[in-house]
């Protein structure tokens, strides 16, 4: 039933490994997601991998059969290999015992209904895949509808971003767009655009948030461009009691989102 791969130089291993590069992902329209829990989350959200690779012996977990059976039934390939080869594919020591190959999603802005959730996260030119994955994870936690990436962000389908999302890549709506498209879209839909900002901003506690609220943070070193901030409905700032004048972008998004959540619930 399973195809066995035991050689590092097997062409399938090389192909899977190539999906760690953005260029190859784009060309193939596929990405990798690791871990039994993450793949189970994916399946429960309606995402079945096209193929799975697992390492023999490690987990004879019931979740593993629950995953492999429908993939096989759908005509997907099931590959059994060694833990070392799995590590080679994902580039991580102590790799998870399973990985899946998924088709990339539609990430167009047109697929978003802003009224479908009270909170949305927006990231502009976010360059760190770990921050990006962490924002997806935070979005899931605050019950956001999704994460909207504007301008040149890290690739959300990279192994690092998918890993940091802890499965939220399958639960959050994901959009890739640019300010020139996003800004008119915001203006033509009901929604409040809120920037984490230092310019002409009010304290983030008890600011007048309203749903659907779009919480926007900027690039890790530059922050948001001034004209983007000025186009927002609300600019809010968090206390900075020390020497630094900013928080990590994913941290700022989380502190602000949790405040919005509390405010909308009140």
């Amino acid at each position: 039933m399973f195809r066995q791969i035991t050689g590092f130089s097997n062409p399938t291993v090389k192909y899977l490994r190539s999906l760690r590069d953005k260029k190859h992902r784009r060309r193939e329209g596929k990405f990798l997601a690791e871990g039994l829990r993450l793949l189970t989350d994916a399946r429960e959200n309606g995402y079945l991998p096209e193929s799975v690779v697992f390492a023999e012996g490690r987990d004879s977990h019931p979740l593993l059969s629950a995953l492999i059976t429908p993939v096989h039934a759908a005509g997907g390939e099931i590959i059994e290999t060694t833990p070392d080869i799995l590590s080679k594919i994902t580039g991580k020591d102590n790799a998870q015992s399973i990985l899946g190959v998924f088709p990339e999603f539609d990430t167009s802005l047109q697929s978003v209904d802003p009224a479908s959730a009270d909170i949305w996260l927006v990231a502009q030119a976010l360059r760190d895949p770990g921050n990006l994955g962490t924002m997806l994870r935070t979005g899931d936690a605050v019950g956001a509808g999704g994460v909207i990436l504007i301008d040149d962000c890290a690739d959300p389908f990279s192994v690092e971003a998918v890993r940091a999302s802890m499965g939220a890549i399958f639960t959050q709506k994901l959009v890739q767009t640019r300010w020139e498209e996003f800004h008119p879209w915001m203006q033509s839909h009901d929604g409040q655009l809120v920037a984490a900002s230092l310019r002409d901003a009010q304290p983030y506690r008890a600011a007048p948030y309203r749903a659907p609220c779009f919480v926007m943070v900027g690039n890790e070193s530059q922050g948001l461009p001034e004209d983007y901030e000025m186009a927002c409905d609300l600019r809010v700032t968090m206390p900075m009691r020390g020497r630094a004048d900013s928080l990590n972008a994913a941290v700022a998004a989380a502190v602000l989102s949790y405040e919005v959540l509390a405010s909308l619930d009140a």
Copy 2:
């Protein structure tokens, strides 16, 4: 006045590069910090590097002279090199134009006066250096006294942690200890130990925080051990509206710390 290094195989380059390894850092008792802004922050907080390495041409910034002059006056070595060699030392493309070599600090628990700040961050077995640096940065932002690392955490003196701290490694008190030492210390000092927890926890909004408040988060995949949580004065939980049951550790610490800050200020 400056020593020039133009060769990749220069022994000083090798020595500096070796400080990226924990083993070598421990043996030498030194660590690397990059960037003009970070080194300026360090100087303004009383930390002068033992030596600096800068790349010619890049920045003829007044801050550079403001940094080099006192290091030179204190008998420190000033090394001029190329951007490529700087990148090789720090392992980062587009390296900063300057790096400093600093002696590691005293990180003993005994050096902490809990009454010196209203908030302290505590991390248990935090394995990701980026998360650790981000916690230092958050600590600075909320005006915390410092970050207390318990059990086997990532090395706060790693290049990655120092980088993610954005200079907060020089403004936050940093402690490395173990639970067996930390727990009796907490019991013998005035202070409230608060765990981000799912067990027997109350909502984090409007929980009865009191200063000095020690905000504790656990390992990225395991969370806090149950007996650690049970030893806390307060267990609080953040809403989790999605599928996931936890936040990124540095995010949880930040959301909780900002709530404590607002609560203590009220």
